[in-house]
């Protein structure tokens, strides 16, 4: 096998292809083969063992899990390098010709959660329009296209929006009081069709918004940036999502993106070291590089990552 093989998250996929393409163009090595298939599957493949038949790099939109590390270890994949390439912003957007929205996590919680606090008690959610949720919002029927539970984005949405909203509205308190120790009810969504899980991609969400003009969808920042002529983005806590606001941490809903390198393949698979060096170089992952142009929020600590990659430091155990 001559070419590098990469698999994993479909969120990281576009960035990886951009780098792979440039890499193939400017180096003597063949262009790496980059697969999607999901973070979980990518990490599973990475951990299948050491050898030509296994992939070299797994892209991941979330941090590797202990179970993956255990699987790796049991298959002889002992050293993995964790490379954080930047951040992915998650934005809320609606049809361009629709109303403007300025959300807070609490609005989302009150709109989508199965149980909300009304006058201090937990009741079933009966809000019909956004105006019911928050008087400042337009009186438009609630209809939200959120990522299905297979998506890593959903986890971010759950944590950074729903749970935050749950806390903010006091629902978490109420649940704990009612005996739900970990406030797991925060993540229970209405099942009456106002919140629609999307198992497909952002393109599907976009198409659905096209078909349902009054809906709000959840997108990645880069996707939104490519479709600004169709979508109107909503603010969160008053902040407009952009690479800058996310990099600075002002915009709350974002997550880091990673790739994991099988260290055993370094020095064996031609071009692997060069590829990862190239990926994290300023030319690529820097704030002015093509990745940022495409919508990756550049990692402020990129220099550290570059150093780590150059020295081949494997990742420390998860804490």
């Amino acid at each position: 096998r001559d070419q590098i093989q990469i698999a994993g998250s479909s969120t990281v996929l576009p960035y990886a292809t951009i780098v792979a393409e440039a890499f193939g163009e400017n180096f003597d090595f063949p262009t790496p083969v980059v697969e999607g298939g999901g973070s979980g599957a990518g990490r599973k493949k990475l951990c299948e063992g050491v050898g030509e038949n296994t992939i070299d790099i797994a892209n991941s939109s979330s941090r590797i899990k202990q179970s993956d590390i255990d699987l790796c270890a049991s298959n002889g994949v002992n050293e993995i390098m964790e490379v954080r390439i930047g951040y992915d912003g998650i934005v809320f957007a609606s049809d361009l010709n629709g109303a403007e929205f300025a959300f807070t996590p609490a609005d989302w919680y009150n709109a989508l959660a199965a149980k909300v606090v009304k006058d201090g008690v937990l009741v079933d959610n009966t809000n019909k329009t956004w105006a019911d949720v928050n008087g400042d919002l337009p009186a438009q029927d609630i209809l939200a296209f959120i990522p299905g539970t297979k998506h890593g984005t959903r986890e971010v949405f759950d944590v950074k929006v729903l749970e935050a909203g749950c806390e903010a509205t006091g629902a978490a308190e109420a649940m704990k009081a009612a005996g739900d120790e970990k406030a797991e009810g925060c993540l229970a969504l209405r099942t009456d069709g106002v919140s629609v899980d999307i198992d497909g991609d952002y393109t599907e969400t976009l198409a659905r918004i096209d078909a349902n003009k009054n809906a709000i969808g959840v997108f990645g920042l880069s996707f939104y940036q490519n479709n600004t002529d169709k979508l109107r983005v909503a603010t969160m806590d008053g902040i407009v999502p952009s690479t800058e606001t996310i990099a600075s941490g002002d915009y709350p809903v974002s997550r880091p993106l990673f790739f994991y390198v099988k260290k055993a393949h370094l020095g064996v698979i031609p071009g692997l070291q060069e590829y990862i060096d190239f990926f994290v170089s300023d030319d690529m992952a820097g704030p002015d590089g093509p990745l940022a142009a495409y919508g990756l929020v550049s990692d402020p600590e990129l220099a550290k990552t570059q150093e780590m990659v150059a020295s081949g430091t494997p990742m420390a155990p998860l804490n």
Binding site: D2, K65, L71, D197, A207, D210, A211, G271
Partner: protein, 486 residues
């Protein structure tokens, strides 16, 4: 000698054997082929088979075994110290193979002798760039032991190939001589070659069985794994499907199974009548010209990628049904629904029903139609009461095929019916199917070893068992109604 050349030689020998077989058979018959038990062609065929098949088997077996043997020998040559930290012998071996390939390429390009190749070991640093120029990229400099191993690997491979070539050709020749010498006028060459072909047939039908075993084997391990993490009781009896990232998911199969059945049912409800009526019209009423255009046209429907159907469902059919049916009837406001997915999937399935049924209907002998017309039946009565019953087994086959396709379809359901697992009777509500969830759980971002991902295997397994049951029932039903003409 390259494998391609070797195969060509073997096939060439087989062709020669074919000719020899025919010649010899004719000779043996004293020029009067009528004295042969079997046609001369069968004699040729039997020689051909005896020449080619054993030799090909030898090649196949050899090619499977040679790498194992050689690598076992060569890997012994690599110094422990040359295996980098954290790497494995396996990876170093891949380096060995790559270097050996490169050496071959260089040797071929520059007409090097063995000694000159051995001499290259002196300049291992330069070797890397030379190899690079020969199109073999290496990640690092070649270690001495790796170089030696590569040379040995290369030599052994070359020797192995030579040995293989010689033995395969010998086997082929032996087969040729043996089978040619057996040729007698009375030799039952036809029986021999037919038994052989029959063996091939049996082998082919085993492919299907092996596939099933393969599927079960590849599903069962992870399914067991899943049931260790998630109680089988909940999986089989829980009525909710609600996977979560952080565990505590409800993974009951019922909403998915229900969705699968419902969507497939709607799809068949659409596809079977439309397909069957099209088939009847094409084979019984349409002119030859119309038929020869329309039939392939309808078959295009089977070739349109399902994603196109998915988008069609999502953008056109879904909103249409919502605006003109669901909302006016107060049956919901969802643009994705069972009905949407079912209808669109039904379109895709039309050719499965129509094309095959059409062929089968066409195969019903004309005498059946004549018999019915002669009694004063109208064409439609003839079709309904004589032709369809006669064609029933084939039609059921077609419908089963369509049903199978419906159960296995993903994209249309994702876009048409949505991803919400629900137990509802309302066809205008969003639902989802087992297949969709298999795909989405398997390709999701959840960690692999979690029940949320592993459930895909269990779902696959359950679906397999479920459809097996349906098929057994179908088999008995068809058996019962099968009608044989003539």
């Amino acid at each position: 000698m390259s494998i391609g050349l070797l195969l060509a030689i073997i096939l060439g020998l087989a062709a020669v054997g074919y000719v020899i077989g025919i010649r010899r058979a004719k000779d043996r018959a004293g020029g009067d082929t009528r004295r042969l038990h079997s046609l001369a062609g069968y004699h040729g065929q039997s020689v051909l088979l005896f020449t080619a098949v054993p030799a090909l088997l030898v090649v196949g077996a050899w090619l499977l075994l040679q790498p194992v043997v050689i690598e076992a020998r060569v890997s012994g040559m690599i110094a422990e110290s040359d295996v980098p930290q954290g790497s494995s012998l396996d990876l170093v071996m891949s380096d060995v193979r790559r270097v050996a390939d490169g050496l071959n390429a260089i040797a071929a390009n520059e007409q090097l002798t063995e000694d000159e190749i051995a001499a290259m070991g002196a300049d291992l640093g330069g070797l890397r760039s030379r190899l690079g120029n020969a199109g073999v990229a290496l990640a690092s400099d070649v270690q001495p032991s790796v170089f030696e191993a590569s040379r040995t690997y290369r030599q052994m491979n070359n020797t192995g190939l030579t040995a293989l070539s010689i033995s395969a050709i010998l086997v082929a020749l032996a087969g040729l001589v043996f089978s040619a010498s057996r040729i007698q006028a009375e030799f039952r060459a036809r029986n021999v070659s037919e038994s052989f072909v029959k063996l091939l047939f049996i082998g082919s039908s085993f492919v299907a069985v092996l596939t099933t075993f393969g599927i079960i084997a590849s599903l069962v391990v992870e399914s067991v794994h899943f049931f260790q993490l998630y109680p089988i009781k909940d999986f089989l009896f829980s009525l909710t499907w609600n996977p979560q990232f952080r565990g505590g998911s409800d993974l009951g199969i019922w909403p998915l199974l229900w969705g699968t059945l419902y969507v497939s049912f709607v799809a068949l409800l659409f596809a079977v009548p439309v397909g069957l009526l099209s088939a009847i019209y094409l084979s019984e009423y349409a002119s030859k010209r119309v038929r020869s255009v329309v039939k392939p046209a309808i078959e295009i429907l089977a070739g349109i990628p399902t994603i196109v159907y998915g988008l069609f469902a999502l953008i056109t059919v879904g909103p249409f049904l919502r605006d003109y049916f669901a909302q006016p009837l107060g049956l919901g406001t969802s643009s994705s629904s069972v009905l949407t997915a079912g209808l669109v999937m039904g379109i895709m399935l039309i050719p499965f029903v129509s094309s095959l049924s059409d062929d089968i209907i066409n195969a019903v002998p004309q005498a059946m139609r004549d018999g019915s017309f002669g009694l004063g039946a109208t064409h439609s009565e003839t079709v309904r009461q004589v032709i369809l019953p006669a064609a029933l087994p084939g039609i059921v086959g077609a419908i089963l095929l369509a049903a199978s396709r419906a159960i296995g379809e993903t994209m249309i359901v994702v876009m048409g019916a949505g991803a919400a697992a629900k137990l509802s009777l309302n066809p205008l509500e969003a639902m989802t199917t087992i297949t969709v969830k298999i795909v989405s759980q398997l390709t999701g971002d959840t960690e692999f070893a979690s029940p949320e991902t592993l459930v895909a295997f269990a779902l696959g397994m359950m679906l397999f068992i479920f459809t097996l049951g349906l098929n057994v029932i179908a088999l008995y039903v068809v058996r019962k109604y099968r009608e044989q003409y003539e």
